[in-house]
Amino acid sequence: MISHKTASSSGRSAKKSKRSGRRSPLATVSLIVVGLLTTGGAYALFTSTATADTNTASSTSQSQVNEGKKLFAANCATCHGMAASGSSAGPSLIGVGSAAVDFQVGTGRMPLAADGPQAEQKPVQFTNSQTQAMAAYIASLGTGPSEPASKYLKADGNAAKGAELFRINCAMCHNVAGAGGALTEGKFAPSLKGVSSKHIYEAMLTGPQNMPVFNDLNIKPQEKADIITYLKYLEKNPSPGGFQLGDLGPVSEGLFIWIFGLGAIVAVTVWLTARSN
């Protein structure tokens, strides 16, 4: 039985060697691919170690960029293109800077769930280090606004000055109390309550989606810090006027008084004129 088996297997191997003797036409191609990958990989390894050696002081390491590149290829490249140069489905990301990535991914707006009037906030999909890796990769493609220094994010600036700047530059869309508001065709300016200082700063700096850009020459870093101070002041201090009703102004206040105020008057009138039992 055993001999029979070996005989049959040897017969098969004989057939195989007969075929390889003629050499497949794909062999050359595969050999070239293998050769290129090995040399290219080795080259990449050498250069990356070289840059890592020179850039030890920099916060973004080459390994972080590589990690970001992988994450980008897996999660973002469908719309933004493999080289992040954009496609018909998404804009080019070359030169948008790490601040834009940290804002869009860090608030859960990207990756986009569905095409709509605007990218809406969702639960954040990446860890902080993954976001930083992608930010490092995008920043390596071209210079752009980078993430703000932490000294501007402490909300310890001048709230009154920040309020004036907010009224001039932001309140028309975001509402004077930062409660948000409607724009055209289903777009809206989101509420700024509970948004982290860093994300507020980055939004001003990069102008995500339809928000205009307020670069550091328009609103200076310290002025941005003042605006953040004002918004954080609003969050921490109760409204002296009582119920805020969403801070939406005449819409919610009018609705409240029409339903509850008028309702109470109607109820009292019915009670006054009803016969006692």
Binding site: M172, G207, N210, V213, F214, N218, P238
Partner: protein, 355 residues
């Protein structure tokens, strides 16, 4: 009316004679059984009328409400003392106002509810009918009034002395004339065409950032940016708010390829940087909701939407004219300056606008 005079009806007993109507029926259906006055419903006794225990209970309820009112008023005073307004603490104002107001409101409400409850449950509840009175006075009164009037005319000579009468009428008419003439003050003090047609902008005026008044370098206005702009001389102006209301400008940078400038206005922009009046041409709200991807400018008051790429023409809403454009260029140092004032009045229409 005249044939009722001889009856001289007593007050409260006016009765109109009811005669069968003699109007041609035409195609109308005249019911044979006219609606009859059903009279008043039978008097129904309340539970407090029937049951002395319920009456006592209601009386207790009313007095309890009045006592509650006393308690609430005292609580309002106590809250005023317990939650003082502290300087610089807005939260303390809120607490103070809330509890003081609640105490006073509930105190007054308890009095009101108690009074209504009292009248509804304990005071007499008989239905009564009050007939309407004639508005006309009795004939005797009317004759007396006419007599007094005649006597007045006779003694004063108002009907006879026509010179006195006519000069008095003239004096009365002239007396109200000053009141009519001062209505002129409601109109514009100066020609609106002078005030509304011109703003602080003029040739060479620097564009500066609101509110600091910093000059703007053209290179600082990056793609997608929006700057809120005031003329440089505004901060030194005497009537700052009035001038700002006319001269406020929104500065935006678009891709120059996106701009479709009409003939003769191609050089009003600088490398894709355009400046438009921020005052809506509808009723003058500040239009500053700029969407940097769609290039739409939205007015928050009535949703007028302007397309910046098409020279701010109206694409939605009640505004009837595009926003006026401010022609801009750069000076020798690269700072943005105005080429001239606006070429048309900013803001909403006014009667004298097309004159």
């Amino acid at each position: 009316m005249a044939d009722h005079d001889d009856e001289a009806p007593a007050t409260g007993s006016a009765v109109e004679k009811s005669e069968p109507q003699k109007i041609s029926a035409g195609t109308a259906v005249i019911p044979t059984d006219p609606f009859e006055n059903p009279g008043e419903p039978p008097h129904r006794l309340r539970i407090t009328d029937k049951d002395p225990a319920e009456e006592k209970k209601a009386a207790r309820q009313v007095s309890t409400l009045f006592f509650l009112s006393i308690i609430f008023s005292c609580l309002a005073v106590a809250a005023y003392i317990a939650f003082p307004i502290k300087e610089g603490d807005t939260g303390s104002i809120r607490l103070n106002n809330l509890f003081l107001g609640l105490g006073i409101a509930l105190g007054l409400l308890s009095i009101g509810i108690g009074a209504v409850h009292w009248s509804k449950t304990l005071m007499p509840a008989q239905e009564i009918t009050e007939m309407r009175h004639l508005t006309k006075g009795s004939d005797a009164t009317r004759a007396k009034a006419a007599e007094v009037f005649e006597l007045g005319n006779k003694e004063s000579g108002f009907g006879r002395r026509s010179l006195i009468r006519n000069s008095l009428i003239g004096a009365m008419v002239a007396f109200v004339l000053p009141g009519v003439v001062i209505f002129r003050d409601l109109g514009p003090k100066v020609d609106p065409n002078v005030v509304l047609r011109h703003t602080l902008w003029k040739k060479g005026m620097h564009l500066t950032i609101d509110p600091t008044g910093t000059r703007i370098k053209a290179s600082d206005v990056t793609l997608g940016s929006a700057f809120h702009v005031i003329p440089e001389s505004l901060l030194k102006s005497d009537d700052l708010l009035e001038e700002k209301a006319k001269a406020a400008v929104l500065l935006m940078r678009l891709n120059p390829d996106d701009l479709h400038e009409p003939k003769g206005r191609e050089n009003w922009q600088y490398n894709g940087i355009v400046a438009y009046s921020k005052i809506c041409t509808h009723v003058g709200c500040p239009v500053a909701l700029y969407e940097q991807q769609t290039h739409h400018l939205l007015c928050p008051c009535h949703q007028s939407t302007f397309d910046v790429t098409e020279n701010c023409k109206v694409i939605f809403g009640p505004a009837s004219r595009p926003l006026p454009q401010l022609p801009i260029t750069v000076d020798a140092d690269g700072y943005l300056v105005a080429q001239s004032d606006f070429h048309e009045p900013v803001g909403p229409s006014f009667w004298e606008r097309d004159r």
